[in-house]
Every structure is written in structure tokens, then in C-alpha cells.
């Protein structure tokens, strides 16, 4: 058998490394399963690269992957800030890639590079669903807090954009916070001064935890909803199950066990004995790796051909559902809603809150 | 006119409530060596600091030739032709001796950025030109220093450091030299040798005037033409060495002899 290399690129160190490591393990699982299958033509080797969630490092590692001619494609990036600058690099070197976690719309929609694909949805989907939920739940006044990275900032832009569809909902205040910030009491007190019905947070777990915990501390009992960045075990562990109860979040993926092959994946993941959890984006990394490997199986280890094959993906059946790329090679998906119930993230339709709402 | 007389009149310097200089006046004419005496803490060093612009006096007037130096920046005052030594040795110990000397000659070096970057040859040549002057000057005081021009000043012993400090002050070709206890820590003999070297230098450039703070009375007697005695920031006596040592006030406050 010939050996073919593919790259996995994600944040393996730094503050968001838990997601990165989950993604890496999931991609590794897909590769191992591929290699264990005797009917496959190629043996695949996974080259794991760390973008540190830093754009300049991202460009370096992508260049590095691209330089290695035996690397045919990449499963890349959780951090939007990195992905948005490396898309040009992928394009320049003609290295096909599939985004497994970054949700900034511009990564696919901001260019027309044929190399760039994405299996997960974008923050547009999340923002749309969040706005819908705010409206349906009858909240009239929303306070918006976001971190000033392009992830949080982008989330807040799309969310507030969709909110405009509902004239009876007003934004009482919008607060950008720094990712290195520890103390949010000033923003929270100011936000509470606007008497909101709900506080929406766009950002990642560390700040999400701090904000939710500090709301409790100060005694703000306003409901708290957040983006997919807080949808992980870390959030509940961080604020404690009691305080986390009732927090709502939105995500492009359904729970793993809602997918047809979800249980299977989890079982295999456990069996492989990885130290870290797959995290919310593990299934996407797994699917992206599978998609890429299948394309290689189909057309052989040639970047241009693999790119064409990936471009043409329609009705590809994957762990995260059927993948259909639109004209910007963006998978067409919908967001899903989650809520913390009894110390666990629960799929909204299954939760007691959904039933109460009805 | 090229008159370079230092005229200080009614200079007053206060530190909080303390009056370190109290309406002190002094005139130093070209070519003159003036000894500045006074008990410890009477304001001698303060006077030097005021003249060189390190302290900003409260009132008074300081003129050097036709230039007004009152409350000017130290670098401006140096441009007017005043150089000094320090009571406690202040060489830049990690720099080479020659670098230290170049600091003294700052005003005579090509300091323009443009020339430094684009006229390298000429700029370097003018520095090299100083090397001879620096060697000769150092050799006067101690040939040993001249041989080790490119070693760190910190590798020299105290006495040589004092000599280097003197060379640094002299290399800028000042019109007025302020020496603050240049011989502190030296033996009798060394002190005299040092002062001979300085006066020797002065003989060659007769315009150079010197104000000398020194506690060794024999040195003062030998080199100074005029003495000024300070006490509590006030001038208590002025005149030739003889008049000064004979003054009862001076004898009591400074020399510790009964009048």
C-alpha cells in the first residue's frame, strides 16, 4: 500500500487547546479506522501541527504542510482568526483543506478559493437561531457581551443583525471585553443597569465561565445565553452545575448521540483510549478527515484532483449528517439549541425547559 | 572680545529649608587658579553643581564671558567651555578609557546622524584624530593608561580612574575647569604629582582657569593664586593663601586652630 499524508492543524497549546486536542484525537480516530480497513487503497498518515491559535504561526505551519508534497490535504483550524489569514496560503499553494471548527463566515464566503471547504456551520446559523430563540422566549431587552476577538465580535455582529428582524426586541447595551480580562463586574453592573431580560454572551469558555460566575456573585439573576464557544463540559465544571442550570447555547452540530453513527463514534473514541474528550467539534474533525480521505481514495493522491473531488461533494453521508457544499464550499447546516440541565448540556428539544415552554 | 570670565553674583541655592549657598559671589578670570575652601558641608560641591547646571539655583546671576548661564541645561553650559571632575569618581566603568575620554570631547566630535550614517570615512577619521591627543594626554599623567586605552575603565585602580577623569575633563579643551577634591585618597606625593601635571597643562593653555576644591592646604598654597573660603554657604574670606590662613574666622571654622 502507498502511504499518503494528510495534515491536522489546530490549537494544541494555549487557552483553547482542549478543543484542539479533542479535534486532533477525533481526526486520528478517523485515520486509524481508515488504516484498519483492508479495502482501502492507501495507508494514511496524519501529520499533526499546532497553530497555537496565533495567525502568524498558522501561516507558518500551513506553509510547512504545503511544502511537504506528500501532504495531500488538510483538516484545519478551530480559531477563526487563524483560518481567515491562512485561507490565502492554502490557496497560494493549492493545498485543499477542510475547516473543522472555525465558524467565521468570511472563511468560506469572504473569498472564492476553491481549496477551502468547511463541514461545520458558521456563526450566521448560530446567530439566527439565537435571535429566534430570544424572540420566541419573549425576551424584550437584550444585553450583549462579547469578547473582542473576531470570534466574539463576529458572533455579536450576526446576532444583533438577526435581532433587527424583531422590532420589539431592543439591545440595551453592548460590551466588548478583552480575552485576557479577569474581572467583568464593571461591565456586568453596567449591563444590569439597563434592566435586560436576558444577557447574551459571544465568546469562549474561559470568559463565559467568569462572566456567569460573576453574575452570580454580584447577584444578577438575568437569564444567560451564549454561543457555541461555551458549549462544553468545561463551562459547567467551571461555574458549577447549580449556577450553570438553565444556560442556553447554540451550536452547529446536534449532540453526538443524535447522529445516526454517534454512539458508534463515541464507543470507538473511548476504546482508543484518548486522554481528552472529543469536545463539541471532535465529530466535525472526524467527519472532515473522513471526507478528505475518501476523496483521496477516489481520485488518488493528487492535490488538484482531490480539490475537485471535494468541491463536488454532495450528499456525503458523515457522522455529522449529510454534507452538501454550496457554491462557496460551505456545508449547509442548521444550528441546534442546547441547555444546561442537571449539570449536563441537554439537547433543547429533549429538555424539561422546552417542555415548559410549550 | 574673547573675555572668558566667570562671574557669579549672589547665587542662592536652597534645599528645602537648608540654605546651601547664601548669596555667594565669585569671579574667576582667565588663567587664574582659585582655591575653594570650606568645612565639610559648607556648599563647595553645591557651587560646582550650580555652575554646571545640575542644580537650579533660587536666585542670583551666573555669566561666563558674554553668555548667561543662569539656570541653563548642563549640556549648554558645557558648550560654553566649562568642564569638571566629580568628588566621587564617576567614570563609566564598563566603557573603555577611550570612550570615556570621547565623552569629554563630545563637542568636538561629529555628532550628526546624517554624517554618521553616510559619511562614515570622514566621521571615523575625526575620531581617530583624537586618539593621538588622548594618548598624549594620558601619558602625561600615567603612561600605563595610554597603553591600555581600549580596556574598560573599571579595570583601573582608583588613582588611575581619577587621572582618567581629569583627562576626560581636559580633552574637551575647556576654558574653565572645576576640580572637586581631585586628590582624595591619594598619598601626599601622588597628590603633588597630579597637581603638577594639571598646572603643567595649564601653563600650556594660559587661558584656562581652574577652580579647585581641596582640603590639602599645601596643595592650595602651591597652586592657587587666590582662595575663597565658604562656611554655611556664605563667603567668609577671600584673598591670597596667606591672607586666608591668617584670617581668624577661617582658622576657627576650617583649620581648627585657635586664632
Amino acid at each position: 500500500k502507498d502511504t499518503v499524508k494528510i495534515a491536522f492543524i489546530g490549537p494544541l497549546t494555549g487557552g483553547v487547546s482542549s478543543t484542539g486536542l479533542g479535534g486532533r484525537n477525533s481526526a486520528q480516530l478517523a485515520v486509524d479506522q481508515h488504516n484498519a480497513d483492508p479495502s482501502r487503497k492507501y495507508r494514511v498518515e496524519l501529520v499533526k501541527l499546532d497553530d497555537e491559535c496565533k495567525p502568524n504561526v498558522g501561516v507558518q505551519v500551513v506553509t510547512r504542510a504545503a511544502t511537504d508534497r506528500s501532504i495531500i490535504g488538510a483538516v484545519a483550524h478551530y480559531c477563526s482568526a487563524v483560518a481567515i489569514v491562512t485561507v490565502d496560503t492554502f490557496h497560494r499553494f493549492g493545498l485543499p483543506m477542510v475547516v473543522w471548527g472555525a465558524v467565521l463566515p468570511e472563511i468560506t464566503y469572504g473569498n472564492n478559493h476553491k481549496e477551502i471547504h468547511r463541514v461545520n456551520g458558521t456563526m450566521i446559523n448560530e446567530g439566527k437561531l439565537a435571535a429566534e430563540y430570544v424572540h420566541k422566549a419573549g425576551f424584550k431587552r437584550v444585553a450583549v457581551i462579547y469578547d473582542t476577538t473576531d470570534y466574539g465580535k463576529g458572533q455579536s455582529v450576526h446576532f444583533t443583525e438577526f435581532l433587527k428582524q424583531y422590532p420589539d426586541v431592543t439591545v440595551t447595551g453592548s460590551y466588548g471585553v478583552d480575552v485576557t480580562q479577569q474581572d467583568f463586574s464593571a461591565e456586568l453592573t453596567a449591563a444590569a443597569g439597563g434592566k435586560p431580560d436576558v444577557i447574551w454572551f459571544g465568546g469562549l469558555t474561559p470568559q463565559g465561565v467568569a462572566i456567569r460566575a460573576q453574575m452570580q456573585r454580584i447577584g444578577i439573576s438575568t437569564p444567560f445565553i451564549g454561543v457555541s464557544g461555551i458549549l462544553n463540559e468545561g463551562f459547567i465544571a467551571g461555574v458549577g452545575p447549580k449556577v450553570a442550570e438553565g444556560v442556553v447555547s447554540f451550536h452547529n452540530g446536534a449532540p453526538i448521540d443524535k447522529y445516526a453513527k454517534g454512539k458508534e463514534f463515541l464507543a470507538a473514541y473511548r476504546a482508543a483510549g484518548f486522554k481528552e474528550e472529543p469536545d463539541a467539534y471532535g465529530p466535525f474533525a472526524y467527519s472532515a478527515a473522513q471526507l478528505l480521505m475518501d476523496a483521496i481514495e477516489k481520485v488518488g493522491p493528487n492535490r488538484a484532483k482531490v480539490r475537485e473531488a471535494l468541491n463536488a461533494t454532495r450528499n456525503y453521508d458523515s457522522l455529522v449528517g449529510v454534507i452538501n457544499f454550496d457554491d462557496h464550499r460551505q456545508n449547509i447546516t442548521n444550528a441546534h439549541q442546547y441547555v444546561v440541565q442537571d449539570g449536563k448540556w441537554v439537547y433543547w428539544p429533549d429538555s424539561k425547559y422546552a417542555k415548559e415552554a410549550k | 572680545m574673547n573675555d572668558r570670565t566667570l562671574v557669579c553674583s549672589d547665587v542662592t541655592m536652597r534645599f528645602g529649608g537648608l540654605v546651601a549657598l547664601d548669596a555667594f559671589s565669585l569671579e574667576v578670570r582667565p588663567g587664574e587658579v582659585v582655591g575653594l575652601l570650606g568645612p565639610n558641608g559648607s556648599g563647595k560641591t553645591t557651587f560646582f553643581n550650580v555652575v554646571t547646571g545640575l542644580y537650579k539655583p533660587a536666585s542670583g546671576a551666573i555669566r561666563f564671558g558674554d553668555q548667561d548661564l543662569f539656570r541653563k541645561a548642563p549640556s549648554e553650559i558645557n558648550h560654553a567651555g566649562i568642564a569638571r571632575s566629580f568628588q566621587r569618581c564617576r567614570l563609566m566603568l564598563e566603557l573603555s578609557v577611550f570612550d570615556n575620554l570621547l565623552v569629554g570631547a563630545h563637542n568636538r566630535l561629529p555628532n550628526g546622524l546624517f554624517r554618521t550614517l553616510f559619511g562614515r570615512k570622514a566621521a571615523l577619521r575625526s575620531i581617530a584624530a583624537f586618539m593621538g591627543a588622548a594618548r598624549d594626554l594620558c601619558a602625561r599623567f600615567n603612561p600605563h593608561i595610554a597603553d591600555r586605552l581600549f580596556e574598560p575603565a573599571g579595570s583601573f585602580n582608583m588613582i588611575d580612574r581619577r587621572r582618567i577623569e581629569l583627562c576626560r575633563a581636559l580633552l574637551g579643551e575647556p576654558r574653565l575647569l572645576l576640580l572637586d577634591e581631585p586628590s582624595a585618597g591619594m598619598t601626599h606625593d601622588e597628590t603633588f604629582r597630579l597637581m603638577d601635571d594639571v598646572t603643567g597643562f595649564q601653563r600650556e593653555s594660559p587661558e584656562l582657569s581652574i577652580v579647585l576644591i581641596e582640603h590639602e592646604m599645601q596643595v592650595i598654597e602651591r597652586v592657587s593664586q587666590r582662595c575663597v573660603v565658604l562656611n554655611f554657604g556664605k563667603k567668609i574670606c577671600e584673598g591670597s593663601y596667606r591672607t586666608v590662613v591668617a584670617d581668624p574666622q577661617v582658622r576657627k571654622a576650617y583649620l581648627g586652630e585657635d586664632a
Partner: protein, 305 residues
């Protein structure tokens, strides 16, 4: 603004200012002894937070209740940071006394990075914030529309006590004299019979214990600790110490409250997006430094020539 919100801002200001102050006091203390800036201090604060957390968890696991976890928290935090401080003082700062200040700055910055990374790598779940259990009484006191938690009161009291304790130690005891002597002229201090090594190590232990206190306070108040909480805290603490006047404890306190005040002012009262609050606070700090180059409270001392 309603009274309750105004009061809440006031509480935020005091709490944040107190934490900054304690960190800044640490910086001032180190500067006072060895004339160096110990930039790993922020990360020692984080270490203190984590060690306190471990102390609580251990005590709880051992079945302790009531004051037990509090004790466990304090003991472990003090032990861990004290050891870290002693090691940093003895093996990093002391050998580098003669080196240029920028070397010391860099070496401590890198030590801080190492501590931070070690926390992230070796604490289970270290790259995410860890929840910090509330071990103090936590009732909400309400009085005339304003409310405050008992735990906040206790934390504040502890902080104020620590600052005054340190101040007393430095100004009224022999240790204080030794500390200042060593800072100003090590060799002469040794001629006076001051045990140089002991003084340096003692100060570093003391400063680090203050750091532990700051870490615990921030853990208790914000209910979480995070591996990189020390970075910004360190920079802000340093900034506060410098603006207050390095070497002056009260200056550090003033600087700490000033910084927290500026941040809150920017968020609440300025017509700029709140994301600019750090930009505002740091700009103001630079301006203050430009106007008072030796800090707000430092006695003006000019070297004689």
C-alpha cells in the same frame, strides 16, 4: 444611576482595587529589597490561587468541614508560594543582582511563563478555568436597597489587614531596616551584620505570600482560577506599583485603586465602547508617569554628585 448600581460599582472598585493593590505591594516589596522587578509575581499569584484550591479540595476530601477547608486553603497556598518565592529569590534573583536590570526583568518574566505553562500542563483541566468553591460564609446582606455578601466583606478585611501588616513590618521592625539597607548597598549592609541571604529570601517569601493572598482573594471573589490569570494581573500590579512609586507601599496601594478606578470609570462613565477600557486605563497611566516620572508617592530623591 440607581443607588444599588452605584453601590455595586463601588464594591467592584474596592474589591478590584484591593486585589491590584496587594499584587502591587508585592512588586514594591521586591523592588525595595533587591532593587529588581520580580515579574513572575503575577504568576505566583496564580500559583497561590491554584494551591489554595488544592488545599480546599484536599481538606474536603479528608472530610474537613467548617474552618477546615479555609485552613487547608491558606496553608497550602502559603506553602506553595512561599517555596516558589524562596526559590526565585535564592536561585534566580540573587545570582543576578549584579546583572543589568533588563536581564532580571526577562528572567523573571520567563520564570512566570514557565509557572503559567506548568499550571496549564500539569493541573488536570488546566487550560480551562477551574471553579473555586466558596468556603466562606456567603449570605447576602441587604440594607436599604444595597446588598453585599459576607464573603466579600471578609475578603476585603483580609486584604486591608495584609496591607497594613506589611506596612507595619517594613516601617516598624528591624526586618524593614534590613530590607532597605540591603536594597541600597548590599556590601555595607553586610558590614552592619545583616544576613543578606536571609533577608532576601524572607522578603521573597513574604511577597509571595501576599501573592497567594491575592490569588485566593481573586479565586474566592470570582469563583474561579485560571492558569493565565497572572499575566494581566502582573502587568497591572507592576503598573500600579510604578505609578504609585516603586518601593513605596502606600504608593502601590494608591496605584492599585487608581487603576481599578480608571477601568471602572471607562466602562461606566465614558462614551466609548467598553472594550477600550484598558486602552483608556493604560493611556492614563502613561500620562501620569509622564507628569510624575518617579511615581505619585515616591519621595523625590536625587542622587548627589
Amino acid at each position: 444611576m440607581e443607588i444599588s448600581f452605584a453601590f455595586q460599582h463601588l464594591v467592584n472598585f474596592l474589591m478590584l482595587g484591593l486585589i491590584y493593590s496587594i499584587v502591587a505591594v508585592g512588586f514594591s516589596l521586591y523592588f525595595g529589597v533587591v532593587d529588581v522587578v520580580q515579574f513572575a509575581h503575577g504568576d505566583v499569584v496564580a500559583l497561590g490561587g491554584y494551591a489554595g484550591l488544592a488545599g480546599i479540595l484536599l481538606a474536603v476530601a479528608a472530610g474537613a468541614t467548617g474552618l477546615g477547608p479555609v485552613l487547608g486553603m491558606i496553608v497550602l497556598a502559603v506553602l506553595a508560594t512561599g517555596a516558589a518565592g524562596a526559590l526565585i529569590g535564592r536561585y534566580l534573583v540573587m545570582p543576578l543582582r549584579q546583572a543589568s536590570p533588563i536581564n532580571v526583568l526577562l528572567i523573571t518574566l520567563m520564570t512566570g511563563t514557565a509557572i503559567r505553562e506548568a499550571l496549564r500542563l500539569f493541573v488536570p483541566g488546566g487550560s480551562n478555568p477551574s471553579p473555586f468553591p466558596m468556603v466562606l460564609p456567603d449570605q447576602l446582606l441587604t440594607l436599604g436597597g444595597v446588598s453585599l455578601r459576607v464573603s466579600s466583606l471578609i475578603i476585603m478585611a483580609a486584604g486591608v489587614l495584609a496591607i497594613f501588616g506589611t506596612h507595619f513590618l517594613l516601617s516598624r521592625t528591624r526586618l524593614g531596616l534590613a530590607v532597605r539597607g540591603v536594597a541600597q548597598d548590599e556590601e555595607t549592609a553586610r558590614f552592619m551584620g545583616i544576613d543578606f541571604k536571609q533577608v532576601v529570601i524572607l522578603t521573597f517569601v513574604l511577597g509571595s505570600c501576599l501573592g497567594a493572598l491575592a490569588g485566593i482573594m481573586s479565586g474566592l471573589y470570582y469563583r474561579q482560577v485560571m492558569f493565565n490569570m497572572g499575566l494581566m494581573l502582573g502587568v497591572i500590579g507592576f503598573c500600579a506599583a510604578v505609578v504609585g512609586g516603586l518601593g513605596s507601599l502606600m504608593g502601590a496601594v494608591v496605584g492599585g485603586f487608581l487603576f481599578s478606578g480608571l477601568q471602572i470609570f471607562a466602562t461606566v462613565a465614558l462614551p466609548i465602547p467598553s472594550a477600550y477600557k484598558d486602552v483608556f486605563a493604560f493611556t492614563m497611566m502613561i500620562c501620569i508617569i509622564a507628569v510624575r516620572p518617579t511615581g505619585l508617592l515616591r519621595e523625590r530623591f536625587e542622587e548627589r554628585v
